[in-house]
Symmetry: C2
Subunit: 248 residues, 2 copies
């Protein structure tokens, strides 16, 4: 197989905040925008937001192929995506076309779908090119002031009170043993409940960081000890996309 | 204390590759470059590379304050940095000036120093603003096609053969139990030895990803099973900055 004759798989980050609210150049390098403007085959998490993104890209760099002619394949839900289906999505690359991957917001494959497609691209010997852009995990880790030399991202924690309490205690124990920052997310309408649980479950001096609406003008980043959060719960912006971290 | 009267702490990522080789706009958003050009107080890992970066920024956006008048404070080595010393570095922000933080390459505070300064900024109630740019951890995670919903970054592993072997087996076990991608780094001249150890220590079907020279034209990203790496060890670029990952 001659990889050079094949197209590449480009991983294209998208803004975290509404693409109509923030100019793209604020959060995406020109290199990423130009690479995106040169593609016409896409594997996307959501067709509507992918079109909105490409339409915004068009405002900065002329698209090589008009928006209406862009080929968008929507990624099936994780549990429905087989290796075979992922390979089928990569077919255009085997025929020489570069393909872009777009997630709903932020970096594809990080706290977002897409990894199985990338895994199959490697199995097929395709070149994979990650492009620079925003990631809520990375920005929250930078901004929280917890340990960035050793950290873990766990996705969602259990929702039920008792299961969540046990999960938080396990993360705190592990954080103390390994000196490891523990990062996790929650759906926005449950953020307040999670923060309350953090404030009342963890040891008083464990540090807890919360980062909301990153890259937006109203971005909120705050790191306090668990006990201090008890009196600061009402500072959390309501229903904002958030990333949580703790370091014991 | 009135946070509004204080300056902010801006976390400014820098290119992973040589700033003279890659145009800055390829890897940094205009928003990040403009924010950097507006600052004149810096806390930096290395003064020489910080000046090279600011000189490159000047090629894109006019600096508000000339290069010679930029105030650079060099961050002491991690083990020598006390909370008190970190606070002293933040003094200009208490007097109203915004301060930027620059690491040698990539995102400050992630696999890089700076976190203690950010932690102290939070203690002082300063606003912390993370800006978008390249991070080798994040780009390697995107590109490797391993699991990006659950991952851990461990920094450096032990160097001695037997200790490294045990560390790799522990990471592999944990990866299998938690379905967690394990990421780690090595100093470039030991990359080949680490990859050989990965190929011969791990179970044959454990996936191992290697990403070198990310964002550079010669970027190398490859994911193979441990057993497949045994016959591909010589494809690794010599002495390139690399990020390793495994998923059992």
């Amino acid at each position: 197989m001659n990889a050079a004759a094949h197209g590449r798989l480009l991983l294209v980050p998208t803004p975290l905040a509404d693409v109509t609210a923030t100019p793209l150049q604020q959060v995406l390098p020109l290199g990423t925008l130009q690479a995106a403007a040169g593609l016409d085959h896409w594997i996307v998490e959501n067709a509507k937001s992918a079109r909105a993104f490409l339409s915004a890209v068009q405002g900065v760099c002329a698209l090589r192929v008009p928006l209406q002619q862009q080929q968008l394949s929507v990624l099936p839900k994780h549990e429905q995506l087989s290796a075979q289906a992922a390979r089928a999505l990569l077919q255009p690359a085997l025929q020489g076309a570069d393909i872009g991957v777009l997630s709903e917001a932020g970096a594809p494959c990080v706290a977002d779908p897409g990894a199985l497609v990338v895994a199959q691209a490697h199995e097929l010997g395709l070149r994979v090119l990650p492009l620079v852009g925003p990631s809520s995990v990375l920005l929250a880790l930078m901004a929280g002031g917890l340990d960035g030399q050793c950290f873990a991202f766990h996705g969602y924690l259990p929702v039920a009170d008792e299961a969540r309490r046990r999960a938080l205690q396990a993360l705190e124990r592990e954080s103390a043993q390994r000196r490891q920052t523990q990062l996790f997310i929650e759906t926005p309408y449950r953020n307040a409940a999670l923060l309350r649980a953090l404030a009342h479950t963890l040891r008083p001096d464990t540090r807890v960081s919360v980062a909301c609406d990153l890259t937006a003008p109203q971005a909120y980043v705050r790191t306090l000890r668990a006990a201090q959060w008890r009196d600061a719960l009402d500072t959390l912006p309501p229903r904002a996309p958030a990333m949580f971290g703790l370091l014991a």
